[in-house]
């Protein structure tokens, strides 16, 4: 390729590069910079606030902030339950779709993808109303079968949010796994059948190992999303504040520190910490899953 041509090629990426600098790099740099400062009241607060360089103090406070650390632990524990559960259902449904004729599969795929078409906020609104003891049909339905469940009780809030996320996510994950399944060479199945393998055995021993990559990817995407969960608990809090505290998830704490406590410097430090935790978690997960594959 001629030299000048290369530079013209580079020119196509210039708008993106500029935008990336201003909308990604600069904000991150600004957040890191802000996280090293702290607004301090001078004297008795009469002289107004001054901004002082405090080094890593905000980070130290963040790491020892029990509310922040609890919220991370809470979300991680929740992720360890909800994500495997959701992916297992998605995998089973993808295998089911793969086991029927493509015409039938197409029909069910559309129906199972309906939740994915619904915006997350709207999905949360709908489920919150389904859960609601006043307007939702689930409470009378539970009574019919002898359950006395209250989805707005603090102990039920994670199952309630978990169900909402699972409902919203299975279709999308199923489609990703299903399309990976389409890449399995069909001859393998025939050979296995001739060897007398049952359909279940084929699914477990050939299909599942084959879609491993898709499972790792969907799990990784889910982990990244889960550590940043905000919309669903925020909407729950909007309706039942007694169920969901304002420090329920890491992003809720960051948002409150920035906008309600006007403690922007601390919020910046917490968001940098969260980014580091997210990076480490993704890296560890990726390493763990790719080593097993060898």
């Amino acid at each position: 390729m001629i030299r000048s041509q290369r530079w013209k090629g580079a020119a196509f990426t210039v708008p993106f590069q500029l935008g990336f600098v201003f909308l990604y790099l600069l904000p991150i740099g600004y957040a890191v910079y802000q996280s090293l400062y702290l607004e301090k009241q001078s004297g008795l607060g009469l002289g107004g606030a001054t901004t002082e360089f405090v080094g890593l103090e905000n980070y130290r406070n963040g790491l020892t902030d029990s509310a922040f650390m609890t919220s991370i632990l809470r979300v991680v524990l929740f992720a360890c339950v909800q994500i495997p559960f959701m992916l297992l259902i998605s995998l089973v449904l993808a295998l089911f779709l793969d086991a029927v004729t493509s015409k039938v599969a197409g029909r069910y795929r559309i129906m199972l993808l309906v939740p994915y078409m619904i915006p997350g906020v709207v999905a949360a609104i709908v489920w919150i109303n389904l859960y609601s003891p006043e307007v939702g049909p689930l409470t009378p339905l539970g009574e019919l079968f002898g359950f006395d469940w209250n989805f707005f009780a603090p102990s039920m809030v994670w199952p309630a949010i978990g169900n909402l996320l699972t409902w919203h996510g299975i279709g999308y994950n199923m489609v990703i796994i299903y399309s990976a399944l389409q890449g399995v060479p069909r001859e393998l199945f025939e050979a296995a059948r001739l060897d007398g393998a049952s359909e279940l055995r084929i699914a477990l021993s050939i299909k599942v190992p084959f879609v491993r990559g898709a499972l790792v990817l969907t799990a990784l995407l889910s982990i990244i999303q889960m550590l940043q969960i905000f919309n669903e608990p925020a909407l729950f809090r909007n309706v039942t504040p007694q169920t969901v505290s304002d420090s329920f998830t890491p992003i809720m704490i960051i948002y409150n520190q920035a906008f309600n406590a006007a403690n922007y410097h601390y919020a910046a430090a917490l968001s940098v910490l969260l980014a580091v935790i997210l990076g480490v978690a993704s890296f560890l997960f990726y390493r763990l899953t790719s080593r097993e594959a060898d």
Binding site: M1, Q5, R6, W7, G9, A10, A11, F12, T13, F16, G19, L23, Y24, L26, P27, Y30, A31, F96, Y108, I110, M111, L112, P115, M117, P119, G120, V122, A123, I125, V126, I128, V135, P137, I176, S179, L188, A192, R193, D195, G196, A197, E199, L200, R201, S205, G213, A214, L217, T218, F230, A234, N238, V239, I254, A258, F259, A267, A268, V272, L274
Partner: protein, 312 residues
């Protein structure tokens, strides 16, 4: 390899594993269709149950949107009572001088214009990354992929401060500008370029004397209609669904998106004692409609888009 494992395990374990009725057939090895009839029934049952689970909330939402407040609180939630859909629609659209319409228009503006600009930038970038070997190309691509891991809060909070310093907070620009740069769109555009634009074609156009810009506009963009539509669709959905960014950068009601407006309506009851539940539900149903129409109309595109990220 999986196959040999399978054969080995099969001899020892199948007795415990398969559903009833299959053992006999396996021994006689009939044609594939007959072999799995029991299994097919089980599979179909699973799919039906999953579909009921997926569709039930939508079904309930449709029914709830036809009820007035009394019906919502007192009638059977699973079936229609008095039909009040038109009253509800009228209330949604006239509440506070038709603020709902304003939010709808805003959502369309941010998602439509923002995604259009973002898609054009992404297509150019994807083309540049896929078909030119310039210094720093690896860095740009690494930035694209690396940014998938950046938490929204880390970007949104400093953006808020930067935007407020230059007076953009609480204006449509605060939503539109961030939409212009979408790393995932760039990633998709690169993948699509690699799949649809052959090097030879570009060479031929160059030999014919076409300039690089001309090649991009009249050949590449035209061949990338499908890829571009997918990128646009996914970006549109993304912006339409956005919540944290608008919550942060939009303060005044008149600039809100549908999501923000509905969020605000759900909180009204505790905030000021006004119960807007039936408005919220009707509004929620309305806000799904554009998504559903768009997804169904463009399903050819988003099917490939949803799965592409996984395959590459």
């Amino acid at each position: 390899m999986a196959l040999t494992d399978n054969r080995k395990e099969n001899g020892t374990e199948t007795a415990a594993v398969p559903p009833r009725g299959r053992t006999v057939r396996r021994r006689t090895r009939p044609d594939p269709a007959a072999r799995s009839r029991g299994g097919q029934r089980f599979v179909l049952l699973g799919l039906v149950l999953a579909s009921v689970y997926s569709l039930f909330p939508v079904y309930w939402l449709i029914i709830a949107a036809t009820k007035d407040r009394v019906g919502l609180y007192q009638s059977n939630g699973l079936w229609f009572s008095d039909f009040h859909l038109w009253d509800n629609l009228q209330q949604v659209f006239t509440y506070e001088d038709g603020i709902f319409l304003r939010w709808t228009a805003n959502s369309f503006l941010y998602a439509g214009v923002g995604s259009l600009g973002g898609t054009l930038i992404a297509l150019a970038t994807g083309y540049g990354l896929a078909r030119f070997d310039f210094p720093g190309r690896g860095v740009v691509f690494a930035a694209v992929v690396g940014s998938f891991l950046i938490p929204i809060a880390l970007l949104t909070l400093p953006l808020y401060l930067m935007f407020s310093a230059i007076g953009l907070v609480d204006t449509p620009w605060a939503m539109l500008i961030p939409c212009l740069i979408n790393p995932f769109s760039v990633y998709l555009a690169k993948v699509y370029t690699e799949a649809t634009i052959p090097f030879e074609l570009l060479e031929a156009a160059r030999i014919d004397g076409a300039g690089e810009l001309r090649i991009f506009v009249s050949i590449v963009l035209r061949m990338m209609t499908t890829g571009g539509a997918t990128v646009f669709l996914l970006a549109f959905v993304n912006t339409w669904n956005a919540f944290f960014l608008p919550l942060t950068v939009l303060r005044g009601e008149e600039n809100w998106t549908l999501n923000l407006g509905l969020y605000n309506w759900t909180g009204k009851r505790l905030e000021s004692g006004v119960d807007l539940t039936s408005l919220v539900l009707t509004g929620a149903l309305l806000s799904i409609v554009p998504m559903a129409v768009m997804m169904v109309a463009m399903r050819r595109y988003w099917r490939t888009g949803v799965t592409l990220g996984a395959l590459k």
